[in-house]
Symmetry: C3
Subunit: 327 residues, 3 copies
């Protein structure tokens, strides 16, 4: 998850190896899906697509559609080739299209139209946010997805073709109810669901497939994701989050991404960055119900805002912390 | 709509031509009103003032008051002369004063006081936002107006002299109701109202006067404004916005400003920037009910936030898009 | 209130003078509390601690705890020594811990845990915000406190150990009710309470103790704080704020901080900056009920957001205003 840049890209192609254009595009689209978890790996992307299809064939199609539209728009606008080839054009569009499917219903024609428009706009937003943050040496993360998905889901009830049913999503937040003691099943379901909820999916086996993709791309990333998920579970349990929500991964998904970003991806992995990532993952876990409450009165969702805000502030602090080194 | 800068301004005065100070100030105040639509033209400002008086004499007076107060404060603080002379000090104050008149009622003495205070603060906010964005080569647009007007209108119910009546404006947003099929009258009313709503005015003939002012200043700007209005109508209709709101210009006014900014004012006008402006105007149209929903629970309004947010991100992306050239 | 920086700090120690480490740490912790009002003075900090204990012994302990945890974490992360020694590491943590005590109840064990975690995270957030704003030569002010305290208090109802009682804090804002004519008692109570509410304390004698601490550190600062409080009272009264809230200092606390920041701390004190501070304090007073309304639907609080937003914009504008000089 870096920023998209314009200009002549430096191709990573090995000279003499000719690949058909379609294979190259497929690799870019798959990497686009894998980059949601920072992995520039088409194999990882295949695992992720399999996970989405395991959750529902429409989700698999929407995820591919979003990454494909964004990648195509990035080529059309002439964005830097190396970033597009690394999959950095696709991940926001993938998540935008998935959010449209999950929150507006995958079966309506207008959902497809707004998913395509959203994935196209996400490319421009990613280039804009990336340029603004590049001067700070900060990555855009999933901020472009969060911006576009928030806009679309909050706007949807204002458009009758996007919101065919009557009741609106806006409501004042209410205090948590229900038991807080985690059953063994909720514990291990939640462990995997924390990884699946990055893509909005609550099923433990879908999370397991995502985790397998992470391990396929990088054993360190797989281990750090497990650590982030564990910190999320522990923090949520310690402060008394409702056990049912914890078991569906609704508290810990941002912690997984924060841990990946702060220990290995943007900060060199060592003992200090591991401790830093634990603090960050705990902070993001507390921030998650806060952003759920902030967005509830206007019918929004927390999405990965807790991850984006926590990681940007923790990364911005790195130059002031001599114990940490940028990766 | 650029940023205000300090220091010695380079006067555009022709040497030898002496104009009385009062005429010079009147020109600056009129340009301040025209700069709401990016036009540094006193003639355009005259059309705009005529449009405001056509909507109601109080609106004409408040618009002039806001631009005059802001321009005077800018002179008092010693801001750069060239920007003040181009009308860049006045447009935010003009809109702040108009917003006070429209949302707090033009007839109360406290409305005049808060309009004057708001127009004064808007100059400082514009200088601050302008300085922050200048490093990115981004303009402040109407962000200063949106910030001050949001603050004043949301604060107003907390002050009994600003909000004499009992009921508050805060409410949870509800899904759109009413028919979505546009009548011929709603279509052409909406086309002009999109341009008038930039100044909060829903009457088609007021929008027509604003459009005449745009054409008087620049035929390109007039044509682009028409294109932005058409994109707004089409997007709103395609996703099923309520026909009544479309006919009052409540969906498309940000699209008009986005189109002007992205095709001619800040990006050189050509085929690529026209396509870019279409994408931006469509995005701003979807964003408009989203920001209406976001601000509803605390009694706020979308104002031109959809224009500001869309344009800033689309302009920030321009350096990454080789197809586009800054104007 | 500057930003925290990494690297080798330049110690302000006088060579040859050996102080025991514990005394040095106590001085840093006290300065951390004094820096809430910009004062790098342990004597001022002693007055402030006395004020907190006068309001309630738990508040005194929480304030000390927050400043101590933040200062310790800053040392652990290896942040610049000179800023930590000036107390710049502690003030956000002090306010975060106090906010936890005031809004979650000081007596629950989970409140202590979240106050410690929040004070630790506030150090990282302060380093991040400080680094981001340092390029603009802008200070972080209490933005780190506002961010962390908003996150914790809004998240709290989502965690059953942090929010043991049933009713939630979220509500739609309603227009102000009650009389607006200030009694003599409300007037002078409000004058001191404006200064105490910076630390959430409404008692006039607590505010008087804070004011005494300010005068002990700097007679200019004490006088400017009095001026800011008076502007806040006058603005709130002029627009018709409810007299009861004015008497508890709920309208004017941000004005006190704005006046300090804009006349003496960050802008050289003179007639121009005094006028600038009056405008800023008036703007922050209007902004205070606005941010109360914005945060009400999700159960948040205005905290010192009005001070932070007003001061950042007014300071960002300083380079454009030739009349003003940075301190």
């Amino acid at each position: 998850m870096g920023q998209l840049k314009g200009g002549e890209g430096t191709s990573e192609e090995v000279p003499g190896v000719v690949r058909p254009i379609s294979v190259k595009l497929v690799v870019e689209v798959l990497r686009g899906i894998a980059q949601v978890d920072f992995m520039p790996s088409a194999v990882c992307g295949l695992f992720f697509v399999a996970a989405l299809f395991a959750a529902g064939w429409q989700y698999g199609l929407y995820g591919l559609l979003g990454s494909a539209v964004s990648t195509a728009v990035a080529h059309g606008l002439g964005l830097r080739r190396d970033t597009v080839e690394a999959g950095l054009a696709g991940y926001n569009g993938c998540l935008v299209a998935l959010a449209c499917a999950v929150f507006l219903g995958p079966g309506h024609p207008a959902t497809v139209v707004v998913a395509v428009l959203g994935a196209a706009v996400a490319v421009v937003v990613a280039a804009g946010v990336g340029t603004l943050l590049a001067g700070r040496e900060l990555p855009a993360l999933t901020a472009p997805f969060c911006l576009v998905a928030t806009a679309v889901t909050v706007a949807a009830p204002g458009f009758r073709r996007l919101w065919p049913t009557g009741a609106g999503p806006a409501a004042l937040p209410v205090p948590a109810a229900g038991g807080t003691a985690l059953s063994w099943e909720q514990l291990w379901h939640g462990f995997f669901a924390n990884i699946g909820q990055i893509f909005f999916m609550p099923q433990w086996y879908v999370g397991l497939l995502f985790l397998a993709g992470l391990f396929a791309a990088s054993r360190l990333a797989g281990a750090v994701a497990c650590g982030g998920s564990a910190v999320g579970l522990l923090t949520a349990w310690a402060f008394g989050a409702p056990a049912e929500a914890v078991g569906q991964g609704l508290l810990g998904y941002s912690g997984v991404l924060v841990a990946l970003a702060l220990c290995g991806v943007f900060v060199a992995a060592d003992g200090w960055s591991a401790a830093y990532a634990v603090l960050g993952a705990a902070a993001a876990t507390v921030l998650t119900p806060a952003l759920g409450a902030v967005t509830a009165p206007f019918g929004g969702h927390a999405f990965t805002w807790p991850f984006v805000l926590t990681t940007l502030l923790f990364l911005a602090a790195v130059p002031a912390v001599p114990r940490l080194r940028r990766a």
